[in-house]
Point group: C2
Chain length 201, copies 2
Amino acid sequence: MQQKSPNVKWQHTKIKREDREKVLNQKGLVLWFTGLSGSGKSTIANEVEYVLNSMGYATYLLDGDNIRHGLNSDLGFSKEDRKENIRRISEVAKLFQDAGIITLVTFISPFREDRNNARKLIPEGRFIEIYVKCSLEACEKRDVKGLYKKAREGLIKDFTGISSPYEEPENPELILNTEKETIKESVDKVINYLKDKKLIR
Amino acid sequence: MQQKSPNVKWQHTKIKREDREKVLNQKGLVLWFTGLSGSGKSTIANEVEYVLNSMGYATYLLDGDNIRHGLNSDLGFSKEDRKENIRRISEVAKLFQDAGIITLVTFISPFREDRNNARKLIPEGRFIEIYVKCSLEACEKRDVKGLYKKAREGLIKDFTGISSPYEEPENPELILNTEKETIKESVDKVINYLKDKKLIR
């Protein structure tokens, strides 16, 4: 996208990410949870944030539904709006990572290209794509929010998995299979991955 | 603005602002610097962030120019785009404040209504409007970025102070008069205000 404000120059800030990370004693990260509605993204991310908070880490959870109440309240679910939804949240995740925060992002984010664009904004090794894998059948059976029923009835248009595609990640850092794993097992996999990669202590 | 995704429900997160503030041992705040281009917003905010970082606080600076390179790269300077520019950054500042971060925002933010909308998003007492006051004549004389010259030549449209209005804050928490005060004096005023109000230790 071409910037619409060509006279605006980048302003270098005196305090850098490194200075902020020193105060926080941690590394800024983006944990990007992608998967179908009902796959367990929010459930797992909430538990991961709970564990990280208990360990003393500064965290923030950018929840797809909640961001649609504020920053992205002007966006619907058309292909263009979905792209813009993910573009904006990618930029916000970039800011949080730059602030030194462990940033958990839970968006269906169905398109590979959009997720790859998010990754490109984040320094190498600091973007962890977590595919919360669950079959459409299982998600639809859970139907926690009653949205699949509405989508099947045609009351919701452009619903991922039903009337809009979901493109599986090709090389995610982590796959959580929520049909086979317990929530605790999935959470442990995330925490252990971060420890193994020395992204947390 | 009406939300364009009526089926999306608010998701309660397990970890709350209080939990994050406990880890950070600080209060989430928004320091909103408003004023003409060249008034000194960025200079002062950078120094304030430097002092706060040295004191061990977790901070982040949302700079108007930098946000226009990323999140708001699709926006120009028409009245509508300016409104949307401030709306989005208000929502982002809300997220940072909710994360427990001391958030410094440096946007010209010329319209009173937009600044008041930003304030409404933030819990009582946590939004500090800082008017960086400097006459148009002095700002134009400084013309650090060479933008006033371009605006006078008609090369930049909708330039605040020249071809677009600036509405002074009516009841800002702080006024910094950068024509009369040194940078250090302005910075001290901000830090002392935060201490007086027990917003920092």
